[in-house]
Symmetry: C2
Subunit: 229 residues, 2 copies
């Protein structure tokens, strides 16, 4: 990212952190946002970092430290205004505008992700599913997301202003699909396919390998197996 562009953004929005923040921090910001959504829905107006931490099993000092990266949000003697902090976090995380997402692969996983209510609630709009199987193309997910021919990817990405692609295809097709996604100009990819993928440096891939998650649990169980029995 060019420095002068970052400065230009900072002048017009408060999205820009005071210092570079880690992915662990942004992950925690997402969790805070989820908590604030719950509080807002319950009609809670203000909350202290301490109460927030207690109610959601978080760390109060960590909350204050994470938020301090982005400015002064707390008010002495009051804590945080729930609606206001929620709106700030949405802006920081870039979900104050709707972000359009394409899902590659209209199998079980792709279809489930297309209709995952959490995405829409948080400002992500699943614009389309893409597949190669002729019998799927032209159909829709249960929630109404259209299944398009992967050969229309590039022009759909441009027309629909799709910013993120989710890869939900079998491992054997993942590399080819990723290449198509990058060629279509997408810079952010959520990957559900196992194995490492190589991308240009200006593209960000976040991988969720469901089998790796299960294996880390089975490793935990295997190491502790005499206790479990």
């Amino acid at each position: 990212m060019k420095k002068e562009n970052k400065a230009a953004v900072a002048a017009f929005t408060d999205r820009e952190p005071l210092e570079p923040v880690s992915e662990l921090t942004t992950n925690r910001l997402s969790v805070y946002l989820r908590c604030l959504n719950t509080l807002d829905a319950e009609g809670v107006k203000t909350i202290s970092s301490q109460a927030l931490a207690e109610q959601f099993h978080l760390n109060a000092a960590q909350i204050r430290k994470d938020l301090a990266n982005f400015g002064e949000f707390g008010v002495r003697g009051v804590g945080y205004y729930v609606k206001e902090l929620r709106s700030h976090l949405r802006q920081i995380l870039g979900v104050d505008r709707r972000i359009r997402v394409a899902i590659m692969g209209a199998g079980n996983l792709g279809l489930a992700l297309a209709d995952y209510p959490g995405f829409r609630d948080e400002g992500f709009e699943i614009a389309a599913l893409f597949d190669t199987q002729r019998e799927k193309i032209g159909q829709r997910s249960r929630g109404g997301v259209p299944i398009l021919d992967v050969r229309t990817l590039r022009r759909t990405v441009r027309r629909e202003r799709i910013a993120i692609a989710v890869i939900a295809v079998p491992a054997a097709s993942a590399a080819a699909v990723l290449k198509a996604v990058v060629d279509a100009g997408i810079k952010a990819v959520l990957n559900f396919s196992p194995g490492a993928l190589k991308v240009p440096p200006d593209v960000k891939v976040k991988s969720v390998d469901l089998t790796v998650s299960l294996e880390s649990l089975s490793f935990f169980l295997a190491q502790g197996q005499t206790d479990a029995e």
Copy 2:
């Protein structure tokens, strides 16, 4: 985990690492296992750490270091025997036996996970889905996994020797479902529900928050937005 039990296990298996290993290491072991599966399926007999690293975009020194935690697997001038290393990794990760898994919630996500082919390929067997909705109970997933009444959880876990529970219910029910899972004696939980969950110290929860993953991408896009345009 009791020290004497760990020693007893080490005497009979080579599952026990020489030193405690981090979750990042076990995650990488899972990735190596996936690569070896591919090589084995392609009929490759031996491979050097260098060739393994190149083919799958990994780090050769890291591979050697990770494996060295568990013993001597490489042979000078040959590299690794693919089948042999694969079998060792399966043992280390505890997937040399079939591990039985329950999925809590037979919505889109639960049903997709139940039929996710990667799990079965890697030694995980989805024994049952659990739900509370009467019209779902008694049905099966497309792949044949039965949907059972959550009220039968405790006895099903015992009878079917279920070791891992996957939580795929809406956020509002997650805490109650987790409590039921822990009460049923399950020690390892893969959680797809957003928000932090509290468990006893002998229970391991691994959370996969799909919205958090997307938000870390949208944060990346928001910070770099002037470049993307």
